[in-house]
Every structure is written in structure tokens, then in C-alpha cells.
Amino acid sequence: MRAVILDGHSGKNHLEEILLEELHNQNWKVESFFLPDMQILPCRSCGSCGTKTPGTCILKDEMEPIFHALANCDVMIFFTPIQFGGYSASLKKAVDRLMTMGLPLYRVKGDHLLHPTRYGNKRLMGLGTYQHCDGEEVVNFNLLVERNALNMISPAYSHRVFCPKLETHTIRTMIQEMVEEVTS
């Protein structure tokens, strides 16, 4: 599996070291982007990537290598501190630009109108870090990952929240479970 980690934490996180180790143990090829350091402009929803320059964003910044990595991966990993029950602003600045990865068309799937994907349907893992392992922020975060998986037409997805009280072996087990869920 080829995976791309979009990391929205403000500093390097010990959890990411464990995540990388576990993914390498599974022989995954992983490319990681530490987003706070990257110059990424906000999406303006101009629609160019849909009907003027299909698949290409007119904003030229450090999203280019991210687009390339995501286009060619099997699994997208959103790795973020949970803020207001969702992604951090640092992660969202990249996620907003993923509109480029969808087509400006609609298809009906179940009870929903969805945008077909430009580069195939990617699996999604959402790893949130938070001071607690439960509560309303965790519930909202999980819902957000589920909604992203729905709208990205992910064939499989997984979400977990990691809090400080978790021991390393528990963290490893949780990551292994996530890998199992997205590859089943």
C-alpha cells in the first residue's frame, strides 16, 4: 500500500513515529507532509480546477507535491489534533484544496449526490489526538471522518482518537486495527 500522511499538528508528535513504524512493519510506502511548515493558500472555490483547468489548481504554492502524492496513493491519512471536534486549521488548509481531486460532476450513490473522484477512490484513515479519548469533540471528529469517507467514496475507512493516557502497546494495537479496517 502507498500512503500519504497529512499532518496538521503544530509540532512533531511522538505518535507519528509509532504510526510510521507500524506502517513500515506492514511494508507500506509512506510519504508524510508536515503542514504547518508548508506555504498553502486557502481554497477560493473559484471552480477553475473543475471547468477551466481541470485537475489543476490555479494557486501555485506547496500543494503541488501533495497533489502528486495523493493522486498516486492508495490510502490518505489525516493526522490532526482535534480542534472544536474536527480538523486543525493546518490540516484543513490542505484538505480544502482536495476539491481539485474531484470531478465537477455528480453521481447518485445510495441516498447521496457525490462528486466522482479524479484519481480513483482512496481509503481514508483519520487519526485525532486529544486530551480525552471520548466526549463530544471525539464524536464530532469521528462523524467528520465518516463524512469525508462518504464524499470521497472511500472503499474503506477508519478513525481513532489518541489521548495521553494511552500506553504505547495500546497505541500500536489501535493502529494495527486501523490498518486492518482499511485493507479488508
Binding site: P42, Q83, F84, K92, P104, N140
Partner: protein, 221 residues
């Protein structure tokens, strides 16, 4: 006199979120509430503007966020703004309230649930009373047209906002009837014809732009 600040969360200054803000402003001012609209993207781009907005928020009885849905959630500049508000530990007037209006192109307003969850959590962190949120599905069709020019649809939205403002000035939570009034009911059986129409429109726009292949993959290896 009570005051309201409406924050337009769309990076596009004069589209649907702004028109909603204008419609709410009209209703609020008719009830004697002094109302101003600020674009979050202006605060994002200018620290002076950010300072100005923060000053206004600290004095406001009502704070409303009007935002589009971006990839199932709040747009990045809105999240940035929220994080800044918490970082700056901005003052809150006694009894201050917070509400949100979220809109998306998809017909199903339940897709806006993650935004509403985030806004409620933000209100708590800001120590403002959360008085509720309203979702509008099918916003893409409105396309930034003022309410007065939208005919029956505009009247329904305006009426919903008048009900909402009435609740706010009476110190009540936004009643469920407002959401019922705002909800665009598109029967499931119409989804395919709707998708066909929207796809036809996209392809028309593309052809006008000289584009014949919407499916290009510029980043594939």
C-alpha cells in the same frame, strides 16, 4: 441598543453566504439590533482587520457565523479565525450569544452536522451561549443572487430568517420551525435528474471555457 456581528465565512465575498448575511442583517435591523457584516477572509489577510473584528465581537450581544461547507466541514480561514479567537482569549459580553448558518450545494442538510457540532463546541469555548444552527442544502443553485431576486425561494428564506431573529431578540434558542422553513425538499427520485442537470451545466461551462476533457489526471505517474 443591542448589537450583532455577522461573520461571512466564505472566501468569496459576494456569494450565497454573504447574501444570507445581508438578509439576516435586514431582519435584525428591523428589530432594532445594530448589525454589521465582516468577511473572515479580510481578517485572515490583514492583522489590522482582525484586530478590528475582534474589538467588535467583544462588544456584540449576538455573534453569527454564516459559512459554506468545504469538504464536509468549515473552510480553513474560518477554522483559523476560531483558533485565533481562542488563542487571544477575547472578552465576552454578559449574556452574549452565538449562532450559525451553514450552507452547501448538496440537498441533504445532515451533511452540515459536523459544522454545527464544531460551532456548538466553539461557542462553549468562547463562553457564549449557543442558541442553535440552521443548515441550507442546495445553496449552489442560489449562486450569490440577492434574496429579493429569488422569488418564492427568497421569500421562504427571508421568512425563516425573520423567525430566527425573532427568537434571538426574545432570548430564545432558534426554534426547529426555522430549519423546517429553510429545508429544500428534493425527493430522492429527483436526484438522478438533478445530477443530470448539474452535470449538463458543468459540461456547458467547460465547453465555454474551451475545455473538452474534464477527466484529465495531471498528477498521475
Amino acid at each position: 441598543m443591542r448589537s450583532m456581528i455577522l461573520l461571512n465565512g466564505s472566501p468569496r465575498r459576494e456569494k450565497t453566504s454573504f447574501r444570507f448575511s445581508q438578509a439576516i442583517q435586514k431582519q435584525a435591523e428591523a428589530c432594532g439590533v445594530e448589525t454589521e457584516i465582516y468577511h473572515i477572509i479580510d481578517a485572515f489577510e490583514s492583522s489590522l482587520r482582525m484586530d478590528e473584528v475582534i474589538g467588535k465581537i467583544e462588544e456584540a450581544d449576538y455573534l453569527g457565523l454564516v459559512t459554506p461547507l468545504y469538504v464536509d466541514y468549515l473552510p480553513y480561514p474560518v477554522l483559523w479565525f476560531m483558533e485565533e479567537c481562542i488563542k487571544r482569549e477575547i472578552r465576552v459580553k454578559s449574556g452574549a450569544k452565538f449562532f450559525a448558518i451553514a450552507q452547501c450545494g448538496f440537498p441533504d442538510v445532515r451533511l452540515l452536522d459536523p459544522i454545527m457540532g464544531a460551532c456548538e463546541i466553539f461557542a462553549k469555548k468562547m463562553k457564549r451561549e449557543w442558541v442553535g444552527g440552521i443548515g441550507y442544502g442546495g445553496g449552489a443553485i442560489l449562486d450569490g443572487i440577492p434574496m429579493e431576486e429569488l422569488g418564492k425561494r427568497g421569500e421562504l428564506i427571508t421568512h425563516a430568517f425573520s423567525m430566527m431573529v425573532e427568537d434571538l431578540v426574545n432570548d430564545q434558542k432558534i426554534r426547529e420551525d426555522v430549519q423546517v422553513e429553510m429545508t429544500v425538499r428534493i425527493p430522492r427520485i429527483l436526484y438522478r435528474p438533478l445530477a443530470f442537470y448539474l452535470n449538463h451545466r458543468s459540461k456547458q461551462i467547460a465547453r465555454k471555457n474551451g475545455v473538452h476533457d474534464l477527466w484529465t489526471q495531471p498528477y498521475i505517474d
